[in-house]
Amino acid sequence: MGDPSLTNSPDAEKLKVVPKVRVGPKESLFADKVFRSFVVLCALAIMAVVGLIVFELLRESRPSVIKFGFKFLTKQIWDPVAEDFGALPFIYGTLVSSIVALIIAVPLSVGTALFLTELCPLRLRGILSLLVELLSAIPSVIYGLWGIFVLSPFLRVHVEPFLAKYFGWTGLFSGPKYGWGMLAAGVILAIMILPIIASITREVVTAVPRVQREAALALGATRWEMLRMAVLRNARPGIFGAVILGLGRALGETMAVTMVIGNRPEIAKSLFAPGHTLASVIANEFSEAVGATYLSALVEMALVLFVVTLIVNALAGLLVWSVTRGMPARALA
């Protein structure tokens, strides 16, 4: 090391050795290409899966589409024996149970999101948001189990008599009180979509610039006036998007609904009455369905469900994006 005459030679050796150890430009180019093709293939797999879903739904539902045409969507008959099928009761059930869910879930989840972002003491925020997140980790089948054995009896004994007594005149709360039925499905769905609406609303509300709030407070607004004028007004399209996203979840939810809704393809005005949804009829009848038309009619229901959720989700995505501008909220927080 100390000898100056030797310093040159190790350096020269290093320079010679380095190109040998390093991967040659050609090899690295090849490896780069292989790696790139691999990740491109993974990305293509996603498109292939979606393509296959669309293809299979279209192919399998063809007999039913040809046989019933557009009347499929407006007919009330569901007769496997005569092979005559209409989807209206299921579309009705899907929409009504989801709307009931939204009516219950929206105020609660928007309130929770506002509490978490604006009012909550910092120490509580972590725990509370964890609790809300945990709600989404509970499997759908367990919601269903709880719905059958805890929620339905509770509704039958405590809630439904009350609703019938004071709101029976609306016609929405009349008839026999089973506990299970449209109302129970709506309540279960509401609990299930709370976390998603709350978390997206939080993202959107967090994206509202801090200065807006400060300006409102500086002008003498009370806390609620600040929330209403500075936060909610700016975040409105995004909150609307969050609600629609929740709607998308509710429309496609299967197990919990199947377990409490009563599974009867009828259109009844009363929310106490049993109903059926697009997803629940597929879950219930697909494995027992015999005959090409029957199977095909069920697949057409899946197609309707797919198209509706696609539209709903796209709309929701657009609305949320209009507030957050594609920025992940974590980066903004």
Partner: protein, 287 residues
């Protein structure tokens, strides 16, 4: 309450108090179902917890005793196989989106992935039925795993993308500047830096599919006996809970609650375990 509220009109003060009260109340109400559900599952499920539950297969309908050992093994195998399908594809697609997809193609894949994420699970089950069950001509564990695996892909892809984008551009430039090829940069530098986040994304996807029942009904079907054969119908915890919940026997209901307790514990344990691994990974990566 920092703003001086003394000289604010009574009406405004009242509406402020009312709104703040309602918002706080909403947050409290939201936590109630969680405690109710978890509480019921623990109380009703714990009474059926015994050695037999984890070691025996279900007794014939109406008989007392038996367990869900076959369903537990079935669930573990289904989820493992689903992860084998979903994790590489999801992470790969995430790498594509973050590293090669800042263009039109990336946007198309991003959109498709969001579409897939929004497809109801029952529709995915139907597709897996048409693809695997119809081709094989019988229900199978494989079909179930395909359905669950597909459900994992979009969650993992989008979260992986988000995490990879958080890795500073300078780290990539430093690695490339040292003459390290691009693939090596991504695998050994970018992915390694983001490993904790990627594990979290896998965990999220896992928690999402672990309790799924709808895509399994006409793919894995369920089974009253042991099965470890990929080509045979298999039992799974959610399926077993579903079928027990609909039986008119008290004994079956109690088994369903115990199954629910085991399922929730499995999900929570996995989540906590993965968190732990992810945290250790993060510390290692930092040092």
């Amino acid at each position: 309450m920092l703003n001086p509220i003394n000289n604010v009109s009574l009406r405004r003060r009242f509406s402020n108090g009312l709104a703040v009260g309602l918002i706080t109340l909403a947050a409290l109400v939201v936590t109630v179902p969680l405690f109710l559900i978890l509480g019921t599952v623990i109380v009703r499920g714990a009474s059926g917890l015994n050695w037999a539950f984890f070691t025996q297969i279900p007794k014939p309908v109406g008989e007392i005793g038996g367990g869900m050992a076959n369903a537990i093994i079935g669930s573990v195998m289904l989820l493992g196989l689903a992860s084998l399908i979903g994790v590489p594809l999801g992470v790969g697609a995430g790498v594509f989106l973050a590293e090669y997809g800042r263009n039109k193609w990336g946007n198309i894949v991003r959109f498709t992935s969001d579409v897939l994420n929004g497809v109801p699970s029952i529709v995915i089950g139907l597709t897996a039925y048409a693809l695997v069950v119809v081709t094989q001509k019988h229900f199978s564990m494989l079909a179930g795993s395909v359905a669950l695996g597909i459900m994992m892909i979009p969650t993992i892809a989008r979260t992986t993308e988000e995490v990879l984008l958080l890795v500073p551009q300078t780290i990539r430039e430093a690695a490339l500047g040292l003459g390290i090829p691009r693939w090596r940069t991504i695998v050994s530098v970018v992915l390694k830096t983001a490993s904790a986040g990627i594990i979290t994304s896998i965990m999220l996807a896992f928690a999402r599919i672990a309790g799924e029942t709808a895509p399994l009904i006409f793919t894995a079907l369920g089974n009253q006996y042991w099965n470890t054969n990929l080509n045979q119908p298999t039992a799974a915890l959610p399926l077993q809970i579903y079928s027990y919940a609909q039986m008119p026997y008290e004994q079956a209901h109690s088994q369903a609650w115990t199954g629910a307790l085991v399922l929730i514990s499995m999900i929570m344990l996995t989540v906590i375990l993965f968190r732990f691994i992810a945290n250790r990974g993060a510390i290692k990566g930092a040092s």
